[in-house]
């Protein structure tokens, strides 16, 4: 039995922050009907990496991963005939999720108040960059922009350079966790009280929890933290050091005096362990740059994986920096079913990511591949909504199923 096989989700999400939320529900058995129009395709379909490096509406690994396990209903919400289909799906659903800018659902007459009239105990999650209210509610864009506005860019980079910023749409990596948790908590509440509710998720506000210590430092101590490279206030050495090979690196952290002494021994520099410039954490923090040079001089002639193994054998935190090949071949991730092979009707055999957490009693299913636009329209209209052939033909003729 799949734990969420009694949960029905109507999914208007797009890009990553939204679909990442509902993918997690689909993994554990929720029926997720995803609305998408061929006239307004999900932008994630246009973002790589692409299957065999060929852009195309089905080839995006990003889209493929975060929409696996969902049913695809083609529906053009700008067509009046589409509205009735949506309302019928709302009656069927337990949860409606959307991640448009705040105006969109209202413009279609599909805001929470309207949906509640159709289904009083519906749970609705609206997820957008800045939230449904406030002077910036109309600010639309992508997770890199919400990350910039929330402070992440300025905290990632070198003190002598412009900010580097984290990779990609960073708040899109945070929002799905809080989104899934919110939906599951609201389902639990409804189970006990019979009440549905509306959830307003500002992706920026969710993401600020990932900066809570530095926000408190600013609020409490008046300190405005900026990017400091890889320095850490609680740990030295702490950095990314060059290894043998092109763009090959090793991350090393010595959280204790003992781990520092062990590193000195491995480097064949026992004298350093007794050097007063490095003996205590305070001294090592003071002389960080010198430490970094000493370690880099040692690592640069060695393979990153070899350094990782050597240091880990004595319990020093270290890892080779993984590129895609390294991650795909990592035996540890493989042991957790990180990558799943699925048979896609258009692409053939392709690869998606699996569930990021493992449940001992009710494990995730291997999901069906992400739907092509409208791939499951017939099934949804006929089997879920019980529409007859004539009605489906009429809808198709009206263009609403595009």
């Amino acid at each position: 039995m799949l734990p969420l096989d009694d949960v029905k989700v109507l999914d208007f999400m797009w890009a990553l922050a939204g679909p990442g939320t509902t993918r997690g529900l689909a993994d554990y058995g929720a029926t997720v009907v995803r609305i998408e129009s061929a006239n307004r395709i999900d932008g994630a379909r246009t973002v790589g990496p692409f299957h065999r490096n060929k852009p195309g509406h089905d080839g995006s690994g990003l889209f493929g991963t975060y929409n696996a396990g969902k049913l695809g209903l083609g529906l053009d919400l700008s067509k009046p005939q589409a509205r009735q289909v949506v309302l019928d799906l709302v009656r069927w659903a337990d949860v409606v999720c959307e991640s448009f800018s705040p105006k969109a659902m209202r413009a279609w007459g599909l805001d929470y108040e309207s949906l509640r009239k159709v289904k009083p105990d519906i749970i609705m999650l609206s997820s957008c960059l800045m939230g449904q209210t406030g002077p910036l509610s109309g600010f639309t864009g992508f997770g890199n922009m919400a990350a910039a506005v929330s402070g992440f860019y300025n905290l990632c980079g070198w003190p002598d350079r412009p900010p580097s910023g984290p990779f990609g749409a960073y708040t899109d990596y945070v929002a799905p966790r809080f989104g899934a948790v919110s939906v599951l908590a609201a389902l639990e509440y409804r189970r006990r009280t019979g009440k549905g509710q509306y959830i307003d998720q500002s992706q920026a506000e969710s993401a600020l929890h990932f900066l809570a210590p530095t926000l408190l430092d600013c609020a409490v101590n008046g300190r405005t933290e900026q990017g400091v490279g890889n320095d850490d206030p609680n740990c030295a050495p702490h950095g990314v050091y060059p290894a043998l090979g092109n763009d090959s690196w090793i991350a090393i952290a010595c959280p204790t005096d003992e781990s520092w002494r062990r590193l000195c021994a491995l480097m064949g520099k026992d004298d350093l362990a007794n050097d007063s410039s490095f003996k205590t954490l305070a001294a090592r923090l003071q002389n960080r740059r010198q430490l970094d040079e000493l370690i880099a001089a040692w690592t640069k002639g060695l393979a990153a994986d070899a350094v990782e193994t050597l240091l880990q054998k004595t319990g020093i935190p270290a890892a080779a920096l993984s590129d895609s090949k390294h991650v795909c071949e990592d035996p540890q991730l493989a042991s957790r079913g990180y990558l799943l092979e699925v048979e896609h009707p258009v692409l053939g055999k392709t690869v998606i990511e699996g569930s990021r957490f493992l449940l001992s009693l009710t494990p995730a299913r291997i999901p069906k591949p992400a739907p092509s636009i409208g791939a499951d329209s017939q099934y949804v209209l006929e089997s879920i909504l019980g529409y007859d052939e004539q009605r489906i033909t009429d809808l198709a003729t009206s263009g609403a199923l595009q």
């Binding site: 506005v149 070198w158 763009d247």
Partner: protein
């Protein structure tokens, strides 16, 4: 099967998880998971070793004074929790934990794999006395596998999971966000896993073990780039203020008059529309000519790739845009973005985040009173707004063992003499 039906702490009101009790045994990693459940209304008991959690030793500190009750790292992830100290190295401490576990619905822990099992407190041990228990383990690499016992840190996890190599300037070492992120990603996955298991338990009465690996959790922060090798696609590579994919360079950070902004200058049916709007604007204010404005911004990427448009011309346009951004303030550019639907956002400093009119207008910040310091402090607010059962900040982060007496006497029914004796012998 769910045994903890009675005897839990009084709740202020019915909230999403108010019937549930959580034992939070996490070390300095994974503290956010219990806080999420606490924010949702669960009664979260933070179980700390005598002397306090190792997280309390982490900087920054209130007024920069290192003290276990002043760690802002601790404050950030322990509100809405009570604290009890228990020495799990003693038989009596373990027995008290077992008693608490029979009265709890969730247990969250982040010890190295096997640590609790060796102390007869593993999932098998505790599920035998409370089959309804949901036991959540947050570890660096997972419970099993060839690297399960590897030592870790935030940086090491980010390296092993993929995101670190993608961040930073191409002529320097990759660089992380300087606020530790890895266990926050893992905590979010752990909370989601716990609530999926909770949904299953509502029907079956049976709990289970949730196994979260921080390495796998941070893979989400590569935006599926991790799949590139298996898909046969180009890997994304790091680039100062942007990213490189194949031969394509995507600049995302631009200098403004008073700092930096992020903006996306890309093409195609989706993003080209935004670029067209930007070029219309530039033309309107005289920053580019009509011919530049009227380039085919939808097809522009293909034109560049096919050689119909020379790279030098692309670079000239990038120069025009850079010049325009550099002549305006972040606020001016953001205003234009809002008015015209452009993809521009200010790169905001932490103090600017605290002063955000948007967050003010949504009354985001929450104040928690710290009576022990005679002051109130401003905390990041609810991660989402719930119309029926809003998140409330009921408790400031606890002092070490602040609720020992309350929990031992009220929840476990121990006498004052017994508690004093346990305390004397270092069990609590």
């Amino acid at each position: 099967m769910i045994q903890a039906q009675e005897g839990h702490a009084p709740q202020e009101s019915t909230s999403m998880l108010s019937p549930y009790r959580v034992l939070d045994l996490t070390t300095e990693r994974g503290l956010l998971c219990g806080q999420i459940l606490g924010d949702l209304g669960a009664d979260v008991i933070k179980v700390e070793p005598p002397g306090g959690s190792p997280a309390r030793r982490l900087a920054p500190f209130y007024e920069d004074l290192p003290d276990p009750n002043r760690s802002l790292y601790w404050w950030a992830y322990n509100r809405n929790k009570r604290s009890i100290t228990l020495n799990l190295e003693t038989d009596e401490g373990r027995e008290l934990l077992r008693q608490l576990a029979t009265r709890s619905h969730f247990l969250i822990e982040s010890f190295n794999p096997g640590y609790l099992r060796d102390r007869q407190l593993g999932y098998e041990n505790l599920s035998a006395i409370n089959p309804g228990l949901i036991y959540v383990s947050i570890t660096p690499f997972g419970q099993q596998g060839p690297k399960a016992t590897y030592a870790d840190s935030d940086l090491v996890i980010l390296a092993a999971g993929g995101p670190l190599l993608l961040c930073g300037d191409e002529d320097r070492a990759p660089v992380r966000v300087c606020v530790p992120q890895a266990y926050l990603h893992a905590s979010g996955d752990a909370a989601a896993g716990a609530l999926v298991a909770n949904h299953a338990r509502a029907r079956s009465g049976i709990g289970q073990h949730v196994d979260v690996a921080a390495q796998q959790s941070v893979t989400l922060a590569t935006q599926a780039n991790n799949l590139a090798y298996r898909l046969g696609a180009d890997d994304a590579r790091r680039m100062a203020g942007g990213a490189r994919v194949g031969s394509q360079r995507v600049p995302l950070v631009w200098r403004a008059q008073d700092g930096y902004v992020t903006s996306i200058f890309l093409f195609g049916p989706q993003l080209g529309v935004f670029t067209q709007r930007l070029m219309n604007y530039l033309h309107e204010i005289g920053a580019c000519d009509a011919a530049t404005r009227d380039k085919d911004w939808i097809a522009y990427g293909a034109l560049l790739a096919g050689g119909q448009e020379p790279m030098a011309e692309y670079e000239r346009v990038v120069g025009l845009i850079a010049g325009f951004f550099a002549s305006r303030t972040k606020a001016d550019l953001f205003k234009a973005a809002l008015e015209r639907g452009l993809l521009i956002a200010p790169i905001t400093t932490v103090d600017e985040v605290l002063a955000s009119p948007q967050l003010d207008s949504r009354k985001y910040w929450q104040t928690l009173n710290h009576p022990e310091l005679g002051r109130s402090f401003r905390y990041p607010g609810p991660f989402a707004r719930f119309s029926e059962s809003p998140i409330t900040y009921r408790r400031r982060p606890p002092l070490i063992g602040e609720h020992n007496r309350e929990i031992l006497s009220r929840e476990l029914g121990l006498s004052d003499e017994k508690i004093a004796d346990l305390s004397r012998r270092g069990v609590v």
